[in-house]
């Protein structure tokens, strides 16, 4: 048996390696997971990362992993890879353009899995992004049911009241009263 290699912080200087588009280098993955040709409903997820003082975290990295529109997880064989990566901007904002994931009966309500990394985080934090317009599915989801109603809200992205393609807002609070639910899976 071997023992796990310890986690260390991503630090402040990851962008030339992990989100290098600004530098003219092709990224492994970016903020646009899908376009009009991708089967499913094209959506945007827009969010901010905030610290314990409510200030924007301007050097965070957010990664997402999600199912296809039919609920199946990509296995590398189709053009939708299901993985995205974004670094936060000067206001702590990030966004993804993707398709809304479907749900499989054994895997709960539709959701996007997320991992948050930043300077000052010695371990990354796992969370989930559920959708506010999936109330029936959400009410049956065992993971959401395992969390008290006050904190449960932190996992549900709100559908913005706007024309055009659906936009969901999702705030990630690293610490404090409004702290996002983070998981130990």
């Amino acid at each position: 048996m071997s023992s796990q290699t310890p986690s260390q912080t991503v630090g402040p200087f990851f962008s030339h390696a992990l989100t290098p588009s600004w530098n003219g280098r092709p990224p492994i993955a970016g903020t646009q997971l899908a376009d009009e040709r991708t089967p499913g409903t094209l959506i945007r997820i827009e969010g901010r990362v905030l610290d314990g003082a409510g200030d924007p975290v301007t050097d965070a990295l957010v990664e997402i992993w999600q199912a296809r529109h039919d609920g199946a997880y990509p296995d590398g064989s189709d053009t939708f890879y299901g993985f995205g990566r974004a670094s936060t901007d000067a206001e702590g904002r990030f966004w993804f353009q993707t398709v809304k994931p479907g749900a499989l009966p054994e895997n709960g309500a539709p959701h996007v899995n997320a991992a948050v990394f930043a300077r000052g985080m010695l371990n990354h934090a796992f969370t989930r992004i559920y959708f506010s317009d999936e109330q029936a599915e959400n009410s049956r989801d065992p993971v959401l049911a395992s969390i008290g109603p006050a904190r449960r809200k932190s996992l549900v992205a709100s559908l913005r009241d706007s024309a055009g393609p659906p936009v969901y807002d999702f705030e990630i609070c690293l610490q404090g009263v409004h702290e996002t639910v983070f998981f130990d899976a």
Partner: protein, 236 residues
């Protein structure tokens, strides 16, 4: 790992505490609520596949992948090792990304204000897929130590950042590799956030005569261990 096997939990005796006051940036960014237990499902046990990336050997040679008009400056080194899980099994075809400061201790990043020269022929980023035995290998320049403002006269020990994927999203690991014999390790709050001394040593590469190439480059060995499968398979 075979598909969708339940994984061992994160080993919190190996990983650092999230709140570590000696590392000032944790004060407003560490979580105060306990993590919520999450049963492992397909969401956790699947993960992105990176075979499509089209990486070449050049991506793993940091001394050549950003050359403009000359050679990268500094002490050439080879950093290689195996990516395995806790059961000792190789993790093949896994994406490893690295990034680091140059020989003078400076990153190619707008927020790095250290008064040290940039090297126009060195970007300090590399990526590779592990082979069928879980092996990876980078050629690079030994990074310099650099100052930071965590406490008076604070210097980060020389390190290379590693970003690693397993086959499951919850195997994700971001870590840092350090160099043996560095006197700054004992003073570094990030390195020492891991309480267990044996676990800390797993972050320190070993000098390797086998990896060292005569008349060319020193070799360092750094094996990386991800969460491994529990004995009980996932019931579907």
């Amino acid at each position: 790992m075979t598909a969708n096997q339940i994984l061992n939990p994160r080993d919190w005796s190996s990983h650092p505490r999230q709140a570590h006051p000696d590392y000032k940036s944790t004060l407003l960014r560490s979580q105060q609520h306990p993590l919520v237990p999450l049963p492992q499902s397909l969401s956790e046990l699947t993960g992105p596949v990176f075979g499509h990336c089209g990486l070449t050997g050049q991506d793993a040679d940091l001394t050549r992948n950003a050359v403009r008009d000359g050679e990268a400056i500094g002490e050439r080194i080879i950093v290689a090792g195996r990516l395995i899980d806790e059961s000792g099994r190789a993790v093949p075809n896994a994406l490893i990304e690295v990034w680091q400061a140059n020989a003078a201790g400076r990153y190619v990043h707008s927020q790095d204000q250290h008064e040290a020269p940039l090297d126009p022929n060195f970007l300090g980023t590399g990526r590779a897929l592990t082979d069928s035995a879980g092996r990876y290998r980078f050629t690079t320049i030994r990074p310099g130590a650099y100052p930071w403002r965590n406490h008076p006269n604070a210097w980060r020990p020389a390190h290379i950042h590693f970003s690693v994927f397993g086959t499951a999203f919850i195997q994700r690991l971001v870590t840092q590799m350090y160099f043996p014999g560095d006197p700054l390790l004992a003073l570094d709050p990030i390195f020492n956030a891991t309480a267990d001394a044996a676990a800390r040593q797993r972050l320190v590469a070993g000098y390797s005569t086998e990896l060292t190439e005569p008349e060319w480059a020193l070799g360092f060995e750094f094996d990386i261990v991800l969460r491994g499968p529990q004995a009980t398979p996932l019931e579907s």
